[in-house]
Amino acid sequence: MSRFVPNGPEQREKMLHAIGAAKFEDLLEPVPEKFRLKEKLQLPEPLSEIELTREFEEFARRNKGAELACFMGAGAYDHFIPAAIDHILLRSEFYTAYTPYQAEVSQGTLQAIFEYQTMIARLTGMDMANASMYDGASAAAEACLMAMRATRKQRILIAGSLNPRWLDVIRTYLSRDDFEIYEIPFLEDGSLDLATASKLIEGGTAAVLVQYPNYFGLIEDLQSVADQIHEHKGLFIVAADPVALPLLRSPGDAGADIVVGEGQSMGISMSYGGPYIGFMAARTKLARKMPGRIIGRTTDRAGQTGYVLTLQTREQHIRRDKATSNICSNQALMALANVVYLSLMGSRGFREVSSQCYHKSHYLEKKLLEIPGVSRVFGNTPFFREFVISFPISSIELRDRMIEHGFLAGLPIVELGDGAMLVTVTEKRTRDEIDRYVSTAAGICKGGRA
């Protein structure tokens, strides 16, 4: 008997008797004999809690990457996570609950997600937000599908400066013969080629999707894209980095119709890729086209305020093949992490995080440029938190050598040149780490020992 199953031989016998079965196998009568397994599953012998913990500690020990000073970003970021968040996430009341179908006994989850929706809407400068998507990339893909539903057009233009992994996800979700996806190239300074965009938009475009800041950390001018696509009755989708938003003009203010993004930066550990959370915000007029769950405020029979899942006729359990999406489970607990994070940070704290990322990344860039042979890849285009820099040696080699010195130096982007690397600096990196990063890189570039 495992420690999870309370009914042992004594209870089994009693229960089988009540059922009217002589033995357990009688309950398998509907399963054809030939499909009933005769052998035990081939799985390793069970482990006790102590043994299992040892095995996990060994797995963790072999993840050498977790010990490095992280200057890598590209969609997942090493930000500070206040301890208080986990104390909320580890409350059984939240994490062992299901989707809040029975609203009267789910007000905790429902109100927390309502607050989450509010914070996402405010940050992005939009009217409303949903209860979460799987991650930023799938949220972007769903936003494209949503725009096609809303406009009844089937062409999507995507900035070539979008995270390539996100583009891959969008292509997967939109892989239909009747859907057109075009990439808008970027110019030498990394900004969007608006002239080409303008040509591609003509003749029925559902939406343009721009990342903000883009994959290379560069800050795009959203307004001019918004004006172009709106002139042609299409929608403007912005994939925004939430950490940049306290400093940058909000996508909503700049004309976005749908804003999506990755919420991992807001209180969620990198955890080798997940679970993360996609957010999605939109104009009110698009609410009924949205995928996913939405929480709404209402009243109970006594007139007290309460919260429920709302606009459910969009969803798969009601609308089935006509639903706005197939999503059912989302990332609710991660939304809770986000809402607690944003509450703890508050407007001042979150702005401070944003500002420190900005200044520290610029400090590192400036220092790196002092190394002979190091140069900017995109000129002096404004950037936030990450930037592409060109080293005089192979960026892959540099990355590997930097690992030996305790640095995860960044993500090599060889498509932009042999020495090109996407480097990220969050508020967690200290001046000392940054200075040592620079001296180590300088040493390696010079061909000497750091």
């Binding site: 059922i19 550990s269 109970d300 006509k322 703890l344 407007s347 520290k360």
Partner: protein, 486 residues
């Protein structure tokens, strides 16, 4: 309860951040700064206030650690506490997804081995751990099937057959995968009617999607005949593994003629549901379909090194990164804790618990498909009570008053006033008996004092909520107050 925004007062803060330790950039290069003087509308409160707020909110939730959660099809079993700690070990939680493979050897080995376990449990050869939830697993499965047909020059196959009792995600996923749904009827026993399936298959059949045990909690006894009909028509068979908790160590989908299935780690493998997610919906499949799996798959090279790689024929990618990895850690821990015998015990007791409840409730509620043993869940009908003016929704709400979560209601659609009950293996006989007593008591109330049921719930933090008003007077974000500094 007040919202977090109502607790806000300018100047309060819930964190302490270090001072900026580098010189500020001399020129601020941002030409378009945040509007409204940089206001983001986030609340300002102290750590203590925030904790109190969310702890108070949490106390309004029902949850597995508080009481039984017999929500059919959702497998609300106990979530082991150790697994939460293990997934949070720094080496596993603090690692960036794009580190070179050799620096994530621990996570990769765990993922590889989990994939092998899932293949063994389901009887398949290929696996993707990427799908973030069951619905994304379904999408992954249909994309594999489409890729297969395309590779054989049969990309016209776009019909997905499914019974009328299917989960809502099945038809919704078919649409997402650019396919059309063809409904197959259930017979008087609540099982797929092979004759109707035979009529519906044809040259456009892409796949047959089936939950087994089905959503009535019944095993599709003629499964071999069903999957053969589809294969003979050139289609493939997809198993929705939402109900896999009934089959661990008992039977394998891969041996029943299925070509691909998804698993819900947040159901069968005890990872917590988190109030709606994160889940994880790995897909296992035949060797033939494995070459189309999404990017990345974890492979073990001859030199004993684990690597992430993209199959040449991969249909693409479902998430930016590898998977809901933190959820995978917990599912791995579960399988390692239980082993073969423990997993078999899970399903045996899940079946015994469900059949026990079914037997104990038989006298008090209708069961339109009671033709023998059920698997891990069963579906009652509230028809008898509805005739007395007490609907299934009322029974569900009354259960909340008795301290239980309600069963899944009004699903599957082929049962009137459906109550779908899944106790799971982690409920004790004593707890099951107490639940039976509550159900019987409600059945009696429905007869004698129906207002007690129709007025329910009364012992909950709020009374029955007005869902119509929520749609009509749509309020999905906290409005900013006039003059409030955003």
């Amino acid at each position: 309860m007040k919202t977090i925004f109502e607790l806000s007062s300018p100047g309060r803060m819930g964190v302490s951040l270090p001072e900026l330790d580098v010189p500020e950039t001399s020129e601020l290069l941002i030409s378009n700064p945040r509007e409204n003087g940089g206001k983001t509308g986030l609340p300002e409160a102290t750590e203590g206030q925030i904790l109190r707020h969310y702890v108070n909110l949490s106390s309004m939730n029902h949850h597995v650690d508080k009481g039984m959660y017999p929500l059919g099809s959702c497998t609300m079993k106990y979530n082991p506490k150790l697994h939460e700690n293990l997934a949070r070990i720094r080496g596993l939680s603090g690692i960036h997804p794009l580190v070179p493979d050799s620096l994530a050897a621990g996570s990769l080995e765990l993922m590889y081995r989990l994939g092998e376990f899932l293949c063994e449990i389901t009887g398949f050869k290929g696996v993707s751990l990427q799908p973030a939830a069951g619905a994304q697993g379904e999408f992954c499965g249909l994309m594999l099937i489409k890729s297969y047909h395309k590779s054989r020059g049969e990309s016209h196959r776009n019909e997905i057959l499914m019974p009328d009792s299917a989960h809502g995600t099945n038809p919704a996923t078919s649409t997402l995968a650019d396919c059309v749904v063809v409904g197959v009827e259930s017979n008087e026993f609540g099982l797929v009617d092979p004759e109707d399936l035979r009529r519906k298959v044809g040259p456009n059949t892409a796949a047959f999607m089936l939950t087994n045990p089905n959503t009535l909690g019944l095993f599709e006894s003629r499964i071999e005949e069903l999957t053969s009909i589809v294969h003979e028509a050139g289609g493939l068979n997809y198993m929705d593994g939402a109900n896999m908790n009934a089959l661990l160590g008992i039977a394998k989908p891969g041996e029943m003629g299925f070509d691909v299935c998804h698993l819900n780690l947040h159901k069968t493998f005890s990872t917590p549901h988190g109030g709606g997610g994160p889940g994880s919906g790995p897909v296992t499949c035949t060797e033939e379909l494995a070459r189309f799996l999404p990017d990345p798959v974890v492979i073990l090279e001859d030199d004993g090194v684990y690597r992430l790689c993209r199959n040449q024929d991969s249909f693409g990618r479902l998430l930016a990164f590898h998977a809901n990895t933190g959820v995978l850690y917990k599912a791995y821990a579960y399988i390692r804790t239980l082993g073969a015998q423990g997993l078999r015990e899970v399903s045996e007791i899940a079946l015994i618990n469900a059949n026990y409840l079914k037997a104990k409730l038989a006298e008090y509620f209708d069961n339109p498909f009671d033709n023998g043993p059920c698997m891990h869940e069963f579906v009652l009908s509230g028809d008898r009570q509805a005739k007395q003016g007490v609907k299934t929704l009322d029974i569900a709400k009354r259960l909340l008053d008795y301290g239980y979560h309600a069963p899944t209601v009004y699903f599957p659609l082929i049962v009137h006033e459906a109550l779908m009950i899944e106790p799971t293996e982690t409920e004790s006989l004593e707890d099951l008996d107490a639940f039976v007593e509550a159900m019987i008591s409600i059945a009696e109330e429905a007869e004698e004092k129906p207002y007690l049921v129709t007025d329910a719930p009364v012992n909950t933090p709020v009374l029955r909520l007005d869902e119509v008003k929520a749609v009509k007077d749509l309020c999905i974000v906290e409005p900013s107050q006039e003059g409030e500094s955003l």
